[in-house]
Symmetry: C2
Subunit: 183 residues, 2 copies
Amino acid sequence: MELFEAISKRASYRGHYESTPVPRAHLEMILRAGLDAPSGCNKQTTSLIAVDDATLMAQLLDAIKPDADDPHPVVGGTAPAFICVLTRRLVAYRDRSYFMQDYAAAIQNMLLAAVALGYESCWVEGYITDADKLGRKMADILGVPEEYELVCYLPIGVAVDPVRRVSKKPMRERAWFNGFGKE
Amino acid sequence: MELFEAISKRASYRGHYESTPVPRAHLEMILRAGLDAPSGCNKQTTSLIAVDDATLMAQLLDAIKPDADDPHPVVGGTAPAFICVLTRRLVAYRDRSYFMQDYAAAIQNMLLAAVALGYESCWVEGYITDADKLGRKMADILGVPEEYELVCYLPIGVAVDPVRRVSKKPMRERAWFNGFGKE
């Protein structure tokens, strides 16, 4: 798929997925797209685990299922595969780590790759890295060492429901030429 | 350009640029690619300013030029255009802001868009957001209000020098299936 088409088609899909497995070749293309993203000082702070084993998927979903009083379903709970995003806070420049920028760029590449291959996905991070530490629960199931943090998962699969893109502010409110708010 | 080609061609280019201007239509396509990136809870924390005015470019370069004792040239100092990336730390979920993930995803989209249109670029962030606050100096030149931070610029233009991609760890050291370090 052409780049600009992939960029404009990408949406945060929170609907149901077909149960059809995602071929390993496609998961590998998505993983490789993630690893091809830049990282600050080339520290390559991002690592990835694709999950397509049904037993493991069930364990992960059980670990992140909402409390009984939370009406929100797990995003991507019916997806045939997840890609879990790991990071290490390695120092890159002076005393700073760019781990967050690094994994975000990797995620963006993977979201585009998923779209280009005919899948939908969603960047699920907020409640994974939040105070209840769901990311660590997922990491433990996947045997992830303590020095890595699991910060996000991307469900990958074919959408059943209609894909809706959010509406955004008009371009003139967010992008300008040669000065803030100009032209 | 096909998505996976753009992803694999993208490199952090620190060489010289041709002086040929970048057409506004191309800059607009790159800006739009940036704005099309997702943002946490759709808060759209990222804003962009494309700079292609020669006088303004000279002022920006003067603001970020290295100290006399620093031998590093300004990255993209010969580029005909810059895209400056602004952010606001808006709260998205509970008490958290995803401004950093948001702008990183926008930057990644723009880097790919630049490659697809035949340009090179480089994610220049580290020394812009560092203690000497070069980002604020650039922001003042561009009339950016205090509530926005200028965190990165992307030089955009046609490369003169050879484009070299950094070497990265083999995939098996960074990506696995169904468990850390597996398969």
